[in-house]
Amino acid sequence: MTAPESAAGAAADTGAGTAVRIAAVGDIHMGEESRGLLRPAYETLSGCADVLLLAGDLTRHGTADEARVVADEIAGLPVPVVAVLGNHDHHGDRPDEIAAILRASGAAVLEGTSTVVQAGPYRLGIAGSKGFGGGFAGRCGSDFGEAEMKSFIRYSRRLADGLRDALTEVADCDVRVALTHFSPVADTLAGEPPEIYPFLGSYLLAEAVDDAGADLAVHGHAHAGTERGMTGGGVLVRNVAQPVIRRAFAVYELHPRAARQAAPA
């Protein structure tokens, strides 16, 4: 396959050293049948990105065997890899084992936690959580009624609180990114049936992002959604589900706050 090399060549050197270059993809849903599919493109990352973010649903069924396929796909890449898990990665009821397999390949796997990556002269803080559903402001579930309903909403709230805390941990970084699987906003769900929005995301994630602050929020999960959105507080949101971006990954260039402030008006 030669196209990835030429594609990365076109992206190479743009923003290197003057911007933080974030590659991201979610919903790669790997199994034995897709082994090696993404590796040729990933090997071009050194020319176009400082980090690769994986926005969950890395496996099909959440099995250890599938996680090992993902681990092989990302092992030894030229840029750091930071991941959150998705609902598919939980389906086998062994998310801790999935995370451990990915960590053994060198990835940071976040859940209510953060990590810092050096991107040229800049410190990039990444806060991650799978997140969960519940819906969006004015059209969402409440912590009320049956135990199952309360459990649903409390789980979503707990993960959003974890994201808020993790973003706060990296408040001193030049650039901060919130990485989730479920969506923080309805914008990037456009194309999905509105009836299923409460299963695709929660405004609690956006509220956490706006409370703690971030430069970008990246998520997956909504295969039929759209790429671009924004939180109520003005934070850019990108849905990087692979069927949406239609590439092995998308690359976003962010210019750190200090550089933006120093730029002439």
């Binding site: 990835p4 923003g15 897709s34 040729p40 099909r60 069927p243 590439r247 990954f249």
Partner: protein
Amino acid sequence: MNTSLLEYRIAGLQRRLAEDGTAELGIRVEARSGLVLVHGTVPSTACRDELLEVIAAELDGLPVRTDIALVEALAPDHPEVLS
């Protein structure tokens, strides 16, 4: 064609796609005039073959059109510069 029966068969297909091993929650199944449309994107040709088998079994006897794309695995040719 019994409309309610069709509705339940579509729901049954979607339930099976999610729960019975294919794990394809992103596939849309819609009743259109005179046929059932199944569309979406899957990660591999093996997944598409598996999906088509399930569709054929679950919607046997119904007119079906499928539009199943494969994910694209090329690197991007340019970044998006965010401001």
